[in-house]
């Protein structure tokens, strides 16, 4: 960004706040199946914690956390987790995203549903986080990046 200057106090505040936002994001994702929130909200919280460091520290500090080329593979991994869970359930004889047909041995069907929703939400959270960070990176880099 233009007109950028270093402020150690802002960077210290962002560094203090960012890990707690990230932990809360994982809490929202993991508790998503029986409390408010879920994959999208938790992923947006993770993206907020990453973007806070990026806004406060600039590109040199942001390179230490999640690099710019790593956002697209993370988003692809999230989408692949989502569709692989649904298609594995389909291949085992159920419907698409029918969690009780997942091939995890030694689990009751209701615990299987909990686990399936958890896997789906981890995938959604990864995809949302990576895409929001990617939007920020492409906006900061400006019009010379096509």
């Amino acid at each position: 960004m233009r007109r950028q200057f270093q402020s150690p106090i802002v960077l210290l505040g962002a560094r203090l706040l960012s890990p707690y936002i990230m932990v809360f994001g994982w809490y929202v994702i993991i508790h998503g199946h029986y409390s408010p929130g879920g994959g999208f909200q938790g992923g947006a919280l993770l993206a907020a914690s990453v973007l806070l460091i990026r806004v406060a520290g600039g590109r040199r500090v942001a390179r230490l956390q999640i690099q710019e080329f790593a956002t697209t593979p993370l988003a692809v991994i999230g989408v692949v987790i989502y569709f692989a869970t649904g298609l594995v359930a389909m291949a085992m004889g159920g419907y698409f995203l029918d969690y009780s047909a997942l091939p995890i041995p030694g689990m009751e069907p209701e615990w299987l549903r909990y686990t399936g929703i958890l896997i789906i939400e981890v995938g959604i959270g990864l995809a949302v986080m990576a895409i929001l960070v990617m939007i920020y990176d492409n906006m900061v880099r400006g019009e010379d990046y096509a």
Binding site: M1, A44, Y136, M139
Partner: protein, 81 residues
Amino acid sequence: MIWELELIIYIFLALSAVVALEVKDLLVAVVMMTIFSFLMALLFVAMGAIDVGFTEAVIGAGVTGILFVVVVFQTSRKSND
């Protein structure tokens, strides 16, 4: 919810919306829109839609504010009209 508190939230909601529309400095407008989103999230929670309020607080007051700040710093800061 207590109706006096809700009335105060509505008044601040209208104030922040008017200030965000009328102000010349676009960074102030972005901050006012963030405040609008957060008060809106409080009202959603007060009306019982906790999931909607959570999404509004995270997206409207968090990520969208950061993206608007990036847009303001990529263009000129003062509005021309």
